[in-house]
Subunit: 307 residues, 2 copies
C-alpha cells in the first residue's frame, strides 16, 4: 500500500521537514491558509512571490505571522513563475508551488530550456486520492501531458512507478484505463493497454505490474472483476490508474473529488524539484495535504541522492 | 429540470406502459430481476431471448411467473441480438434490451443496414445520473461513439437536446467538457468547446444552450464557477455533459456511479426504437430504472409521431 491516510503522509513528511516552498502568485487566501498550516506544523518555509501589498493584507486577515524578507514583490504572472522557478534552480527552494496564476504560465517557466527545471525525464503529473473504502490511488496524467504517444505513455508510467518505489511500494499495480476489457482495433486505449502491459512484461517499464485494457470499475472494484470474470493481478487492486489523455484524467479526477468525497493531493514528477499544482477551486485543506505529500517526496528524493 | 427523481420517471412512464421489451441474452439473474419488477409495476412485457432452460431456471429461482410463449430459445450471442432486433424491426417489441451478451454484438445487429434499426440520425448513447445535491444530468457519449469528429459531435449533442425536448425541457444547457476553461490550440477538446458553442449560437445545433470549454467542476458546481470567475449561462447548471471521447465518458461515468453514489440509467438515441444497454456490473435496481426511462422515452416518441 502506498499510504494509509493523510496523517501518515504528514507524519512521514515531518522527518524531512522543513522544506522551503517558492510560491508563484502567493496573493491567494486558500494558498496562504495552507502555507500557514504547513509552517505551523513545521513542514514548510515559504518564499511568497506575488503582489506584496496583497500578500501582507491576506497574511494579516489570516493572522499569519510571515517573515517580510520572505516576500518577493512581483506583479505579472510570468514574473511570479520565473522568480519561483529561479529560487528552485538556485537551490534556495526545494519545492515550487502554484498560487494564483495559471498552470500553463508556471509550466512555461518550468520547461524553459536554460532557466527551467528540466531533467532528462518526462515531466508528468499524478493526482492522488483517498476514496472511501479504497486505498490511496494515483491517476496519471490528468494535469500536464495532453495526448501522449506510446513512448511518452511508457515514460509517464515509469515516473509514477519510480515515485511508488521511493515511497516504499516495490511493485505498484498499474491499470491502463479503457471503456472495456477486450482489445478492439477501433478503441485506441485498448490497444495501448495491451501494448503497455507487454512492455512491462518485457522490462521496458521497470518495477511495475501493468495490466490493461481495464474499465474504471474493473481497475478498482473486486465485485466488478468477479462479475465480469476478469483474470488479472492488477484488476480490483490498482495503485495507479493510467489514462491516455488529459481530458479523461482531469474529468475523472474532478468527478471523484467533488462527488466521490475523495481528498486529493498531487505531485509533478520528473523535474529538478517537486512542483505543486493545485486547482483554484481546491480547498486550503487539499492544498495543505499537497504540500505535505511534496515535502515527503522532496525528502525522499534527497535521501536517494536524486537531487 | 429534466426529472426530479426516479420515482417521477417511473410514474410518468406508467402513462405509456406497458411496452414490450425484447431482451437479447435474458439468461441473467440481475436482468430477469429488473424485468420482474418492471412487469409487476406494469411497465414492461418482456420477450426473453436466450438459453431457454437457463431462463426458466432463473425465473423459478426468482419466483418470476413468466409466460412460456414469451421465451425464444437462442444459444449464441449473435442469434440473441438478431432475434431481439428483429422483434423491434417487425414492431413486435417497442424496446430492445441487452442482457448477458456484449454491447458490441448487440450493436452490430442494430447497425445492420438491411435488418437493423438505423434511421437517418446518428446513434448515440446518454448516461443519466442523479448525484446527491445536483439535478439529473446526462453524459454523452460514453457508450457508443469512440472518438467522433466535429459533425458527429454536433449530431450527438443534437440527439441529446432532442431527447430533452421530448421530456419537456425546451432549452437544455450543454457543457462541452475539457480540462480547462480557456481555449488552447494544444488541447483539442477546448477547440471543440469553442466551435460547438458557436454552432449552437448560429442554429447549427438547435434548441440547446451550448458552452465550452468547461472543466467538470465548472460545469456542475456554482462554487467553482464563482472561484474561477467564469461568465456563462451553462456553467454550474449543466443538464448535459458532452465528452469528446468514449474513454472519458465511460471512465467519468463509472467514477460517479461507484464513488459518487449516483444512481445511473442510460438511453440510446437515434435508432428506430429505444435500446437499453446496461453494464454487467450494474445492479438490478439500475437496470429497472433504465427500463422505466426507456419506456417513458418510447411513449414520448410514439406520442410525437416519431415511431
Amino acid at each position: 500500500m502506498l499510504f494509509r491516510d493523510y496523517d501518515e503522509i504528514v507524519q512521514e513528511a515531518k522527518k524531512f521537514a522543513p522544506v522551503t516552498v517558492a510560491v508563484a502568485g502567493a496573493d491567494d487566501s486558500a494558498v496562504m491558509e495552507a502555507l500557514k498550516r504547513a509552517e505551523l506544523e513545521g513542514l514548510a518555509k515559504p518564499i511568497l512571490i506575488g503582489v506584496k501589498s496583497e500578500i501582507l493584507r491576506i497574511a494579516e486577515e489570516l493572522d499569519y505571522k510571515i517573515c517580510h524578507d520572505s516576500v518577493i514583490d512581483a506583479s505579472s504572472p510570468d514574473e511570479c513563475a520565473y522568480e519561483a522557478v529561479r529560487a528552485a534552480a538556485e537551490e534556495r527552494a526545494g519545492i515550487v508551488m502554484k498560487g494564483r496564476i495559471q498552470t500553463s504560465v508556471l509550466m512555461k517557466a518550468v520547461f524553459n530550456k536554460e532557466k527551467g527545471l528540466r531533467t532528462g525525464r518526462i515531466i508528468s503529473h499524478v493526482f492522488f486520492i483517498k476514496l472511501p473504502g479504497y486505498k490511496f490511488v494515483g491517476l496519471t496524467d490528468g494535469g500536464i501531458n495532453i495526448a501522449p504517444e506510446l513512448p511518452e505513455q511508457a515514460a509517464i508510467i515509469q515516473n509514477a512507478a519510480d515515485f511508488c518505489h521511493l515511497m516504499g511500494l516495490a511493485m505498484p499495480k498499474v491499470a491502463v484505463l479503457a471503456p472495456v476489457e477486450t482489445v478492439s482495433e477501433k478503441i485506441p486505449s485498448t490497444l495501448y493497454g495491451a501494448v503497455l502491459s507487454k512492455m512491462a512484461d518485457r522490462g521496458q517499464i521497470k518495477g511495475a505490474l501493468v495490466d490493461g485494457p481495464l474499465a474504471f470499475d474493473s481497475a478498482l472494484l473486486p465485485e466488478s472483476v468477479k462479475e465480469k470474470g476478469i483474470v488479472s493481478d492488477v484488476a480490483g487492486d490498482a495503485d495507479i490508474l493510467f489514462v491516455s489523455d488529459i481530458d479523461m484524467g482531469n474529468g475523472l479526477f474532478k468527478g471523484l473529488v467533488h462527488f466521490g468525497k475523495g481528498i486529493p493531493a498531487a505531485v509533478i514528477l520528473g523535474a529538478k524539484t517537486p512542483i505543486i499544482v493545485t486547482s483554484r477551486a481546491d480547498s486550503s485543506e487539499c492544498k495543505f495535504y499537497s504540500i505535505a505529500l511534496n515535502v515527503l517526496y522532496a525528502g525522499k528524493l534527497k535521501k536517494a541522492g536524486e537531487i
